[in-house]
């Protein structure tokens, strides 16, 4: 066993997993309050990356006066705000008119929104992949045992953890978070408590989209190139992560995201040893999905629901 190689793969896998986890949270929160799969969420992730690119471009003249971490933070926060607004807008325009309709109608609409965002982005930004600016000086740090980690990886992992902790705080400790949980638990009772359902749903979409935007920027930081269709596959994989963790369960989504990131990386990194071609990385998530739905449909941390007759 080559421990250095394994450790290195784990570091790579965790940083990829962080991205899946952040996207998965949006799926899970929206599913929690509205009980549908927001198929367009992966595209919000893509828009987040492009928002980062353009925000950086616009603000570049000002960046020389501020320390690097501040400019990077600014890009991150502004992109998150832009995407939060986008998420809220999408919900208001496309999903809100469908509140009482069948899940399928909403799913089709969500596919429509997803296509609109990716092809719209193609029209606006072009289909060719674009390079992403370096937000922070990316040094490689040697760890004991021939393992290395880059500044960007550290930043991604640390910020993701911070975001997860603050999300937990918001959901567990704030009035809005409580309302979110109440709404997801029993929408009727929540409105009887005076919860403005629309406001909470908007908030949920905004929060989820902001996290997706952060994931988009982290993805762009780690892998440097962004394109209009970059959201589809990570989006679906993140959804799988949400299912793996138990849809509607916030801790589960984060766990699922990290697990899928790790598994994918390990399959590629050890493809020779386990006899699976590295090209199968994109199938990993789907195989997990099918297995989990067959054997533990409620997910690792979820509770099952049954239909009333």
């Amino acid at each position: 066993m080559d421990w250095a190689n394994l450790t290195q793969q784990l570091i790579n896998g965790l940083s990829l997993g962080a991205i899946y986890a952040l996207i998965a949270l949006g799926y899970t929160m929206v599913y929690g309050v509205l009980r549908f799969i927001n198929f367009a969420h992966g595209d919000v992730f893509m828009i987040g990356a492009f928002a980062g690119l353009y925000v950086h471009r616009w603000l570049k003249p000002f960046f020389q006066w501020m320390p690097e971490f501040l400019s990077a933070l600014l890009v991150l926060l502004l992109s998150m705000c832009l995407c939060a607004a986008l998420g809220i807008l999408i919900e208001k325009l496309a999903y809100k008119p469908l509140r009482q309709r069948s899940r399928l109608t909403v799913l089709i609409t969500a596919i429509g929104v997803s296509l609109l965002l990716s092809y719209g982005a193609q029209l606006l930004f072009g289909a060719a992949p674009k390079g992403f600016p370096q937000l922070i000086k990316n040094d490689t740090h040697d760890l004991p045992g021939a393992v290395s980690i880059t500044t960007e990886q550290i930043v991604v992992l640390v910020v993701t953890l911070l975001l997860l902790v603050s999300l937990r705080f918001i959901v567990q400790k704030t009035r809005m978070g409580l309302a979110m949980r109440a709404l997801s638990n029993n929408p009727t009772a929540a409105s009887l408590m005076g919860v403005n359902t629309d406001a909470v749903i908007s908030f949920t979409f905004g929060l989820g989209s902001a996290l997706a935007a952060a994931a988009g920027i982290f993805f762009a930081m780690l892998y440097q190139a962004i394109d209009p269709f970059m959201g589809i596959l990570p989006g679906i994989k993140a959804f799988v992560a949400a299912v793996l963790g138990g849809v509607g369960n916030i801790a589960g989504a984060a766990l699922g995201g990290f697990l899928i990131g790790l598994l994918e990386t390990l399959v590629v990194g050890y493809s020779k040893n386990i006899g699976i071609p590295p090209g199968f990385r994109d199938a990993v998530a789907f195989v997990i999905l099918i297995l989990i739905l067959m054997f533990k449909p409620a997910g690792l941390l979820g509770k099952s629901e049954r239909e009333k007759v």
């Binding site: 009035r175 029993n186 005076g194």
Partner: protein, 247 residues
């Protein structure tokens, strides 16, 4: 305080209420009784804004609240403890109570209200950090009522507080309802299937049958009215069957 005129409600084309009118004077307990599916819950749902009113009007403290969004109605001081309790099963008892106070910003008053609630329902205090879903039916009912109280309402709508609860607890809950009315001064509209119990604590009663009000009287006279029983157990029941069965 609460006045309903000619209320019609229907679900998916099926009429649930065919024009009912009722009145709840300030400070009183009024009860709405009737068999299953008579339209009692629909009335409450319409009042609190979670069922759509087809026609008719609902006026609360002189303000027309017909078809207003539920959260605005709560803000006006009308709380609803719904049928089936609907506690937030994944949330802790304390969180459920906080949800009741969702619209309030007065932190200090909230904590003193919490204390008051604990004196009313000491059992809840013992289970503050427990998920509400793990409570017994009776405890859940207490929580549902307590939660409704946390919004500091002027008027409380109670839907079937005795439903599915052990008889011993039903007694406790009903005496608390009376306490809430007398000591906290809340106006209460009580929907009950357990007619005798409801008629005992209310001052005025309406008997509902298939979406219409068939009787409207003081509770004293309703208690001795055989038609009440017939609304529950079927028309064919002879008037004297009551006495025979009772003794």
């Amino acid at each position: 305080m609460l006045e309903i005129r000619n209320l019609h409600v229907s679900y998916g084309g099926i009429a649930a209420l065919h024009g009912i009118s009722l009145e709840v004077p300030a400070g009183s307990i009024v009860t709405l009784i009737g068999g299953n599916g008579a339209g009692k819950s629909s009335t409450l749902r319409a009042i609190s804004g979670i069922a759509k009113v087809a026609s008719g009007s609902i006026v609360f403290e002189g303000r027309d609240i017909t078809n207003k969004p539920a959260h605005e109605i709560v803000a006006l001081g009308l709380a609803h403890s719904p049928e089936g309790r609907m506690v937030f099963s994944n949330l802790t008892v304390l969180e459920n109570l906080h949800m009741g106070a969702h619209l309030r910003r007065d932190r200090n008053a909230i904590s003193s209200d919490l204390e008051r609630i604990f004196t009313l329902f000491p059992r809840l205090k013992e289970r503050l950090q427990q998920a509400a879903g793990t409570l017994s039916g009776g405890e859940q009912q207490m929580l549902a009522i307590a939660r409704a109280l946390m919004s500091k309402p002027k008027c409380l709508l109670l839907d079937e507080p005795s439903l599915g609860i052990a008889p011993i607890l039903v007694q406790t809950i009903f005496s608390r309802i009376v306490e809430i009315n007398r000591e906290l001064g809340l106006t209460i509209l009580l929907v009950e299937q357990n007619a005798n119990l409801a008629l005992r604590i209310a001052s005025h009663g309406y008997v509902l049958e298939t979406g219409r009000i068939i009787l409207n009287d003081t509770t004293d006279s309703l208690r001795s009215n055989p038609a009440v029983r017939s609304a529950y157990l079927g028309e064919s029941i002879p008037g004297d069957a009551l006495a025979n069965g009772g003794n």
